[in-house]
Amino acid sequence: MSLGSEEIKKIANLARLQIEESDIPGYAKNLSNILDLVEQMDSVNTDEVTPMAHPLDAVQRLRADEVTEQDQREHFQQHAPKVEDGLYLVPKVIE
């Protein structure tokens, strides 16, 4: 699989990453090589194989729907980049 620069830009956008124009050829080469490695999986037929969801076949544990956590908003927000009145601030989304 060989990825071109348009595909790199699309993937970067999906991952919310900004890749410098000058770095795109490097990413294209490395990601294409990784996909070549990954495609070695195609050497084995897996039509009859069930996908493995968990190494120990465990299922998601459930708990009673009870409040177990205390409000620690101020404690958690003390290291946030920008907060005001208990809210996280981001650039204006709605005019």
């Binding site: 993937i11 991952a15 490695l37 070695q40 084995v44 194989v49 650039p91």
Partner: protein, 486 residues
């Protein structure tokens, strides 16, 4: 004073007999870090005041006769474990300013055991790497040859124990990140069964593979560490509800009749012949101890690296979406809008290897590709796991090399991701199957340490530790340390 060459077990005895205090011991190791870590760069943060306060408390417990096996013992934590009030960087610029508001369960358990934390250890960024060169804080050096890498991602954990700057450390292993650096640095490392140790507060890379474990001088010390670390935790939904045995209980058992499986796929063309010789000599040692050797096959093991580089990046792209510059961690300067905030914070905060893996994961999970990549990889994972199940019908443990070569030079593989990924060719299958594995010092090739990998059945940690301990009772590779750090 050669306190630092003592094992954790010996230090525990000395503390209890009061021939040394925890404060003295802690100062000794802090002095060694100060003296030697400039060259090694194994610590991101040294928590001196915190350590001395914990040591003082430990001494009070010891004086009252309330000491457990780890009370007053200095250890160090990989910087992937959240530590309340202390910087937790995960080796990334993204978290360079992150002071964790809570403790990981592993950290909490060591606190309860009365252990002393010397500091936080350097690592590949977000545990993605096999050489510790992707760290925002610079590479760690291998104590046996400082031009070489220590392995990764738990490179700081391995180097600090190998140089005896800390009696023991914690690591995490997603594709070999405990065992491979333990092998390259000549020390003992254990990756437990998936779910044995809580992942709560351990910064997530690939959640279906990540597992924490100890890095120590000896298997006996690893047993003491695992006793403290293992156990069910309601805060980790994949933690296993299973009683924790005393991992030291079976150490002394003899190995007569032990069946060792040697997978032919682990002794093929990619293996350095000098490393192969060391492994064969170690297997011969086991035969002398009464073990039987059985040839086995793991026919799908060649697909483990390809499957891993779908599963791990896919899970990483999902896990690392939380780093968006909004709630914690790095935020770019003067974002023009929300999109710009996300994109620039992530692009400036993550290093190139992390970005590569996020992008591979995003691609593999994107519309139209899920079946070809993620679903296919999960099926291949089943085949790999079935290979092990079949093998364990015939044998008690599986042995082989931990890594195909000894430690390589810094820079040698950093421009070639594929070459780097193949460093973990013998360790990755264990993670995909969720099995426990160890690396034990077994000798030297080209003057650099070689690790013997021992893979056990699910929850077979006691057996693994027993098998490793008996080897160490009959060899002295694990006692060797580089002269310059003595």
């Amino acid at each position: 004073m050669s306190l630092h060459t003592n094992t954790l077990k010996q230090l525990s005895t000395e503390l209890k007999s009061k021939s040394v205090s925890s404060v003295e011991l802690t100062r000794h190791f802090l002095d060694r870090i100060e003296k030697f870590d400039g060259d090694l760069n194994s610590f991101v943060t040294v928590t001196k005041d915190h350590a001395l306060a914990q040591a003082k408390q430990a001494d009070e417990l010891i004086a009252k006769g309330k000491a457990g096996p780890l009370t007053g013992i200095p250890i160090s934590q990989k910087d992937i474990f959240c530590t309340e009030g202390i910087k937790t960087s995960c080796g990334s610029k993204m978290l360079d300013n992150f002071i964790s508001p809570y403790n990981a369960t592993v950290v909490e358990k060591f606190n309860q055991a009365g252990a002393v934390m010397l500091g936080k250890l350097n690592m590949d960024e977000f545990a993605m790497g096999s050489s510790n060169e992707t760290s925002f804080y610079g590479p760690v050096s291998n104590p046996w040859n400082t031009d070489c890498v220590p392995g990764g991602s738990s490179g700081g954990s391995a180097a600090s124990v190998a140089a005896r700057l800390t009696p023991a450390s914690t690591g995490t292993d997603t594709g070999g990140s405990i065992r491979q650096p333990a092998s390259l640095c000549g020390i003992t490392g254990l990756k437990p069964t998936y779910g044995r140790v809580s992942r709560y507060g351990m910064i997530a890379f690939a959640s279906s593979l990540d597992q924490a474990g100890p890095i120590t001088q000896t298997a006996e010390d690893a047993a003491l560490m695992l006793n403290a670390m293992a156990g069910f935790d309601a805060k980790d939904s994949t933690s296993v509800e299973k009683d924790v045995p005393d991992y030291t209980a079976d150490l002394a058992n003899n190995l007569k009749g032990l069946k060792i499986g040697l997978p032919k796929e682990y002794f093929g063309g990619g293996l350095d012949s000098d490393v192969g010789d060391v492994i064969n000599a170690a297997v011969d040692q086991y035969k002398k101890l009464g073990a039987e050797v059985v040839d086995i096959e793991l026919p799908n093991s060649g697909l483990s690296v390809p499957a891993y580089y779908v599963v791990a990046p896919a899970e990483c792209s999902s896990n690392l979406s939380r780093f968006d510059g909004v709630r914690f961690g790095y935020r770019c300067e003067d974002p023009v809008d929300l999109e710009d905030l996300y994109k620039r914070s992530r692009s400036e905060g993550f290093g190139p290897e992390v970005k590569r893996r996020i992008m591979i994961g995003a691609y593999a999970l994107s519309a139209g590709y899920y079946d070809a990549y993620y679903l296919k990889a999960q099926k291949v994972r089943h085949l790999i796991s079935d290979d092990f199940k079949k093998a364990f019908e015939k044998v008690d443990v599986i042995m082989g090399p931990t890594s195909p070569n000894v430690a390589f030079n810094k820079g040698e593989r950093s421009d070639d991701p594929i070459a780097m990924y193949l460093s973990d060719i013998y360790t990755i299958a264990t993670n995909l199957a969720g099995l426990p594995g160890m690396s034990v010092p077994a000798g030297f090739a080209n003057n650099m340490p070689v690790g013997l990998q021992i893979i056990g059945n699910y929850f077979g940690e006691s057996r693994l530790l027993n098998v490793a301990h008996q080897f160490q009772m009959n060899t002295d590779w694990h006692t060797l340390m580089p002269d310059v750090f003595k």
